[in-house]
Symmetry: C2
Subunit: 277 residues, 2 copies
Amino acid sequence: VNEALGTWIDGVVGGHVPADDRGLQYGDGVFETILVRNGVPRFLESHLERLRRGLTQLRIPFSDEAALRSEIGRAAAMAPPLAIVKLIVTRGSSQQRGYAPRGALDARRIVSLWRTAALDPELEQQGVVLEVARLRVPTPSPFAGLKHLNRLENVLASSDTLDGLAFEVLMLDADGNVVSGASSNFFLVKAGRISTPPMDRAGVAGVMRSVVLREALRLGIEACERTLTLQDVIAADGSFITNARIGVVPVRRLREHVFTMTDVARELQRHIESLDA
Amino acid sequence: VNEALGTWIDGVVGGHVPADDRGLQYGDGVFETILVRNGVPRFLESHLERLRRGLTQLRIPFSDEAALRSEIGRAAAMAPPLAIVKLIVTRGSSQQRGYAPRGALDARRIVSLWRTAALDPELEQQGVVLEVARLRVPTPSPFAGLKHLNRLENVLASSDTLDGLAFEVLMLDADGNVVSGASSNFFLVKAGRISTPPMDRAGVAGVMRSVVLREALRLGIEACERTLTLQDVIAADGSFITNARIGVVPVRRLREHVFTMTDVARELQRHIESLDA
């Protein structure tokens, strides 16, 4: 269900990258994971906007967005009904060793197309189980909000899901504040309002997260960014997680704490699923 | 002076890595930078020990150390009088997308050989200039001490050296404590004793750092790990930086603060330079 269908490196079909690429050497780059539904890359402009923001903040010169768009189009055109297009842009290859990016480097584009499956309808309806990651996220990250390639924290945190029943793990910072899921953003529902942690000290500011914040307002649901502790989460009426692939998915249980299914999560889930983009 | 002479991927000559390698996708791996002097990889056992420690902590199964050793030997045998052998071990290629490492993955070895130059004798003698990096390192890192592939902080911090006269930048954490140089460890000298920040909250525990701590004791120089602020640094008699390539190098100036040259730094520099390994 989760199979690579093709890879393009700087527009050329292939599956290999020079070993001196700074993405491999240092995680020096950014990425995006875009859901393609019936050939349409969802929320493409938001993904490209975040990509640009990341490249700017990492001071990676990038002038090939037109080429990148055409590669996304090519991948989407051959995608099955449900697929992921993953974009990586690295700072490119250094001719020299060393952290400092010396000389004029050419950013490298890596576009890959992956088959994906819809979320199990039972999980989509009944909600998923969350655990709390053992690892604590260090803060404040100078790259908070960006979807950069330094993702060891996410890798190690999500390893905690491998031997249990949890669909996702909630990552906390050293102060015990919620950051996000390992591969999702986290929202809680309380008295008909939704809130999610700010992404200014850690975490990835997900495209689906911003879609939810925007669409909530359109639906008349009050939404805000707010620091959340585990206590806040337990005291909530309900909660849900979001990412580009799964959209909005209610949380059924966090550790031993069972949530009720909230109308707000359902409404957002249905509404966002139904959006054209 | 800083040129790639060869690369071996899992023992095979070549310069390309599959795009689905988790080192590229997530920075999911570790590395070592080993100085090869007259064909001898210096402090090889310490480098391999740190590599093993990193792999264990990142839960990357690795059973190919014998092959890695033979690849290091092959690279060293064709090295010019002064060279770097860089090792990278990644978690390998996932057949599936996603942070969690699902299925049995084969770790990938990437060994490359680089020409390098001795440090400019003037810098070696007179010392180098340090600046303070603008970026603050988030703490506590769950991977403190490890030489893992998530090095964006080092990349961005060392970019600060590109347009100035500084040889290296000092990285601080959010509390203002010294972590290390962007590609070196930092020591200060005070009343004939040396101290360096502990590596339990951030930074890389350099092999040369541990060589210095060990050899200092042999030379009868008191050495300890201690939290250091910029104020401590300014109040010191002198300071020096260390890494596998440059060994021990005195710091001449930090921002406007000029250090005197200490006998302790000189003695350690000469002694470690003269070691056989």
